[in-house]
Structures are given as C-alpha cells and as structure tokens.
C-alpha cells in the first residue's frame, strides 16, 4: 500500500503562496495523486489530481517529480478562506479500490 506522509500543520499569511508536500514512497505505476480540502463539519472536497509533472487549475497547482515519490500542492496567494485541512490521496485508476490511501492531513492556518 502507498502510505502517505504530510506535515501536521502549516501557518501562512494572506497573499502568500503555500506549498504542502506529501510523501508517497511506495506509489504504484497505476496510482494517481489527488488533493482534497476539508472545512470543519464538512466532507472533503476534490481540489486537483495528477499523474506526473505539473497540473494547474483555477485554484491550485500540483507538482509531481519524475520519480513520483512525492507531490506538492501549491496554493497561490492564499486568503483566510483557505484555512482548512488538506489531504493527499494516492489511488489506482481502476481495480483495488480498497487500496487507496489518504494522508493524515495538513491543517493550514491563514492569518491576516
């Protein structure tokens, strides 16, 4: 199983770029990497997904090095509303749905 490791917490200020890294040394060839955001009293919400190199959407970028043993979620110019817990998920695209692994989450706190 692809065990994942993330920092427990991070602090930032409004307007800064935040980078959260997830380690997944045992990632398999058919695994994708996904990041989720969770606010208190809500279920996690999909942010971004990738397989290798760089993926960008309207809210974040995801950087995955060639060896795929880690990934970095980049949040540009964070605001107070980005205060949340961020999880990385390593999961196969098909089969082995019971082998997906969430990280323990990173609590991001954004201050003025």
């Amino acid at each position: 199983l692809a065990k994942t490791t993330q920092p427990i917490s991070m602090d930032s200020y409004e307007g800064q770029e935040v980078n959260i890294t997830c380690s997944h040394n045992n990632i398999a060839t058919n695994d994708y990497i996904t990041w989720y955001q969770q606010f208190p009293s809500q279920g996690p919400r999909f942010i971004i997904q990738g397989y290798k190199t760089k993926v960008t959407n309207e809210v974040a970028s995801l950087f995955i090095p060639a060896d795929r043993k880690s990934s970095t979620l980049s949040l540009p110019r964070v605001s107070l509303s980005d205060t949340a817990v961020y999880y990385c998920l390593v999961a196969p695209t098909g089969g082995g749905g019971n082998k997906l692994t969430f990280g323990t989450g990173t609590q991001l706190k954004v201050e003025l």
């Binding site: 994708y32 996690p44 098909g94």
Partner: protein, 116 residues
C-alpha cells in the same frame, strides 16, 4: 449538482446497540466508500463497494459490516456498537470509468457518532 447525503449529522447510541448509517448518492456512481475520521489519524477506509451487492474490506473493517442492495445506497452497520467506534463517519462515491477512477470522490457531510 452532485449530491451525497447521509441519514444523520449527529447520532448518540449506547454500547451494544446495532447502528445503521445510511448513505445515498444521486450521481449513478458505481463506487461507494465508508471512512472514519479521527483526530491525528486522518481518513481511514472501512469498506468499499464497486457494484450492487459487491464489497471489499478496507483498512479497518473489524466491527463493521456493509450492505449495498441498490446502486444509490450504501449502508454501514455496527453490529454491536462500542465506545471505540465513537468517530466521524464519512461516505463517498466515485465513478469507475475514465482517468479519475477512485480519485475524484464526492463526500457526504459526515455523521458524528457517539457511543456511550
């Protein structure tokens, strides 16, 4: 808009009671998941279902069972609730086909279960 609903937001039960947590999705997704979420432990997969009447154990299935009689509904059952099953329970669903696979999961709001 996609929707995953869970039968209760808060639930209080007594030790030894049989507990049913219900989850319904309206997206015609093949896959459904039950997780529990505890401080410092993140999300841990209890059971996964990839089709009606099909299920697979996740990381922590002990003390739980599941039922999926219809595609849209996935139930988590605690046969005899214990205090160490006090937790937040999250249900999710996803498609099978395409690149997203299990990665783009849609979560319900969660049920906070307290077992006294």
């Amino acid at each position: 808009d996609v929707k995953v609903t869970q039968s209760s937001r808060y639930l209080v039960k007594r030790t030894g009671e049989k507990v049913f947590l219900e989850c319904v999705q309206d997206m015609d997704h093949e896959n459904m998941f039950w997780y529990r979420q505890d401080p410092g432990l993140g999300l841990r997969l209890i059971y996964f279902s990839y089709d009606v009447k099909m299920k697979e154990k996740g990381d922590i299935p002990e003390g739980y069972s599941v039922s999926r009689e219809k595609k849209e509904r996935f139930s988590l059952i605690l046969e005899s609730a214990s205090t160490n099953q006090t937790s937040m329970y999250l249900c999710a669903s996803s498609l099978t086909s395409g690149r997203s696979g299990y990665n783009e999961q849609f979560f319900g709001p969660g049920t906070r279960l307290t077992v006294l």
